[in-house]
Symmetry: C2
Subunit: 221 residues, 2 copies
């Protein structure tokens, strides 16, 4: 049980921190903790369709900076910089080798449960949302799961007074090429969904703006 006031303080502490203090480095223990909250994140059917690249190499950051307009201030200053990947259709389709691996080796389900669950995934992907017919829709479904891990990393960082900045702004085609050529990522398996930089703020936080509660919440009693 954690104090609600402290939790809300952390949510208010978190903001899109555009530049970090280059004199301050996140400790290994703290960064392992942040990654662990990504690993423990939930995902649809528990398929964990993600991968996290921690980019500390200066040359790679420089190359990322050329095509990532949303991280001009954070790439050169972040203590830790993470590129988040999601798995593509090849892995996410209900009858894929990856799904089989997850259900057999990670979830350790029995054969009859696997068969039943695969049926649910098939219905979900075919009938309910027609993810099968579109490489993009299937990837977006996997990508949504990565935003859960993204959120948890930013939240857990804020709870130990570490700043962060989520990044969606980059050139998609150039990113695919960079991932293939310089990161050794198979673009038929994975695509970039977003990025997130971590470090310690150097500037004062701006006032947080949000819509009012009654603009975004509707009760049906």
């Amino acid at each position: 049980m954690i104090d609600k006031i402290k939790i809300i303080e952390a949510y208010n502490f978190r903001h899109a921190c555009k530049v970090f203090d280059t004199n301050k480095k996140i400790s290994d223990a703290d960064f392992s903790f942040i990654l662990e909250t990504a690993r423990l994140s939930p995902s649809s059917f528990g398929f964990e369709p993600w991968k996290f690249l921690v980019v500390q190499n200066k040359d790679l950051r420089d190359k990322l900076k050329l095509i990532t307009w949303g991280a001009q201030g954070t790439l050169p200053t972040a203590s830790h910089f993470v590129v988040i990947l999601a798995r593509k259709q090849k892995a996410m389709k209900y009858d894929s080798q990856y799904i089989k691996h997850m259900m057999e080796d990670v979830h350790r389900l029995t054969d009859d449960v696997i068969q039943k669950r695969r049926g649910f995934v098939k219905t979900f992907q075919e009938s309910d949302f027609n993810l099968i017919e579109s490489e993009r829709a299937m990837f977006d479904w996997a990508s949504k799961q990565t935003y859960i891990a993204l959120a948890n990393m930013m939240t857990s960082a804020a709870m130990i007074n570490i700043d962060s900045c989520p990044i969606e702004g980059y050139k998609a085609k150039e990113m695919e090429k960079l991932m293939t050529d310089d990161f050794g990522i198979d673009h038929t398996e994975y695509g970039v969904t977003c990025m997130v930089a971590f470090g310690y703020r150097i500037d004062k936080q701006r006032n947080k703006t949000r819509q009012d509660t009654d603009e975004i919440i509707q009760w049906f009693n």
Copy 2:
């Protein structure tokens, strides 16, 4: 600053709780707190493209249950049940009235900043990711943001020992009709992205399964 061990405990406490104890109700203060962590969540360009429907009415829950195979145990037993909506292309396009409203009235940006930022959004939606040409891709982009709020609600709930279950499994077409007919939601403005149920567990939690750290994290030093 919150204790890391306590935070990890909360991430381990959270699991997809399929049935809740109907004798236990979440207090108004606790549920307001959970909603507040949704409201404070970040989103792309700060556009907050979400709406949260808190469905407490029994008739509406019964109707949802007929088309939501992923919530058969939670809809009848949840203390609080939330349907999460995302805004559609009409609102999310860079030159929409809604984006204008967000930048002018919520972010309170000056005219020149608004013009500049709209240019970024245009580039992002047109050149970088071609969201403009597909109603679905634009909606999925908005939906991704709602998964940040979803994650934060589940995490903050777990931190005060409240259980939750995220739900993606429902019949999409029937859901659109139900939202229009019974919830008064304009389906040209909003679509359902997912749901999340809250309450207190009645069954023991299963062991958590996850891929190992080195399967999902890669360092580039």
